[in-house]
Symmetry: C2
Subunit: 159 residues, 2 copies
């Protein structure tokens, strides 16, 4: 997806090969930390701690140079401050939007996610893939109409 949509990138300075590495590496820590649902506010409370511990455990298995590369990519992705990580994170947030839209709002419905929450989550897409933003708005609006998203802010914790 990062490769296919690269022509729509909204800013310069993106090294697409580095983005691919970042996309590959960015959620390896979930092997030990588990996947924290994007709208699970309770899960987010200790997400950083859990993922840091997972990273220490995981990257310690690698040769030093590879460990450094993976850790750098992972931290950079999370901070979303560089062109590479802004683009990679936008792709990472755009994808579940499509997945949910094409599965009758599967996880949105399950957790009672609102349009407001989705907009907050996918905000990085606006700058990273500006030509696709109109499509994003269409998807969110249509998802509201179809009942995939709630109008008001509401989310169930996973526990």
């Amino acid at each position: 997806m990062a490769l296919t949509l690269f022509e729509y990138a909204g800013f310069d300075g993106i090294d697409i090969d580095r983005v691919l590495r970042m996309a590959i590496v960015h959620d390896l820590v979930e092997i030990y930390a588990g996947d924290t649902f994007a709208y699970d506010t309770k899960g987010y409370e200790d997400k950083e701690k859990r993922e840091k511990e997972a990273a220490n455990k995981l990257f310690a298995m690698l040769p030093a140079s590879l460990a450094l590369e993976y850790r750098t990519l992972w931290e950079e992705f999370d901070q979303m401050e560089t062109p590479d990580s802004k683009y990679a994170a936008a792709i990472d947030r755009f994808q579940p939007l499509l997945n949910n839209y094409l599965t009758d709002g599967h996880t949105w419905v399950k957790h009672g996610v609102s349009a407001e929450q989705v907009y907050e989550r996918i905000a990085p897409v606006k700058a990273a893939l500006p030509e696709l933003w109109e499509f994003v708005e269409y998807v969110v609006n249509d998802s509201c109409k179809k009942g995939y998203l709630t109008a008001s802010k509401r989310v169930k914790s996973t526990d």
Copy 2:
């Protein structure tokens, strides 16, 4: 996996960034052609035809330059003649070995796959990741002992 094991690559001339693109692109045709099981001899009869049709349909959706890049990577992967594709294909064949070994021989048992068939399939690993070959032999031997693989050549067609 391609990135993590790159230090074990057994020959020069590999462009690892290109390998990552190749790994990402190489089975996109399965969207339309389906995944043909590695030991399904009947499925392999029309695999090339099915995948070519799928490629034509799929790549036609892309801008010309991207279509050309994806098609080139896909064809190169299948031909296994260049350093990039020899390494990428070896990774692609090494991975299911691990998956099957770590799941009590899941698809091997299901289809009655033999050690001989696995050795034929994973032969590219020997040249591409020579330092890992001893481990491959251990896995195959242990899988025979544990009954994940049959001693004689036998495979059920999927139909």
